[in-house]
Symmetry: C2
Subunit: 191 residues, 2 copies
Amino acid sequence: MSSPRKRLSPDLRRAQLLDIGSRLFAERPYEDVWIEEVADLAGVSRGLMYHYFSSKRDFFAEIIRVESARILEMTAPDTSRPITEQVAAGLDAYIGYVLAHEHGIRAVNRGAMSGDTEIQAMVTAELGVQQDRILAALPPEIREDEVLRTALRGWVSFVRAVCLDWMDRRTISEEDVRALCLRALEGLLRL
Amino acid sequence: MSSPRKRLSPDLRRAQLLDIGSRLFAERPYEDVWIEEVADLAGVSRGLMYHYFSSKRDFFAEIIRVESARILEMTAPDTSRPITEQVAAGLDAYIGYVLAHEHGIRAVNRGAMSGDTEIQAMVTAELGVQQDRILAALPPEIREDEVLRTALRGWVSFVRAVCLDWMDRRTISEEDVRALCLRALEGLLRL
């Protein structure tokens, strides 16, 4: 279905196209999304769509870049607070993002499994930033601990897997997800 | 480099081709592997290669199927033993597989990120079997706990992420990996 064409500033138009794309890529495999459909849903010409994004692959890459940056911005820690509060606040923000932008998380997950090396690298980089934030909040003498570093790498994968499973099944509460992830981290930090 | 052509039974030839493919897909992105190179490395004609596998995609799918089945077979639990021993033995077998068949794990990981829905489903199914094995070993009254079920889904992702990070960095010992994964699970089971 086409919506009537509206005048939007280039920034808003771009954001609108990315948002529509994020929802479509969240719902369907990459090969089942057509850039023409995005244009139709936005009520713009296909020519305008290609003015903003040179190809479907570039469009998808840009969605993953924007969603990853949004996750990192929303979960940015207040480094003046103690580590436990930083992690709890970051986790709350991440769960809030999962609830508010389920399609964004699903699109990013699709990116992680896309087989496109550059797109995978963006997703891996986001997990790496989350790992580094926790490491940076730890006392220097344990920050260098390689087992702990590995444990945190595992934990960020744990959180993502738990949130994806939660969205698919919806059998536990938001508070359960939060408590589960925090308890897993506490167990790992108690080395 | 071609090796001299040897007579092999069809089963052995097939296994040889799959093993060569697993090593190549572990080292390089999917698009950089050529089925002709596999034939050359095995010292067989390209026609014979296509006799065994109808396309590169089918060849890759078969590698993932065989490697996943091998992981599940090697880590199969002895259900007569207590759960902690079953899990510890399964984890030992998994780590042993990672060490002995690093290329197999990497090829499976490539499959998880391949963007091919059917291949991804095989990899997800393997993680699901690992999760179900632990659930099946738990007492019935806690087996139905949805939080625990979610925790185990997260844990199998944790173990895979930790093992991939370990192979990439090699900064911790096999014993560290084993202890880290077991401690994470113990923390989660203490609900």
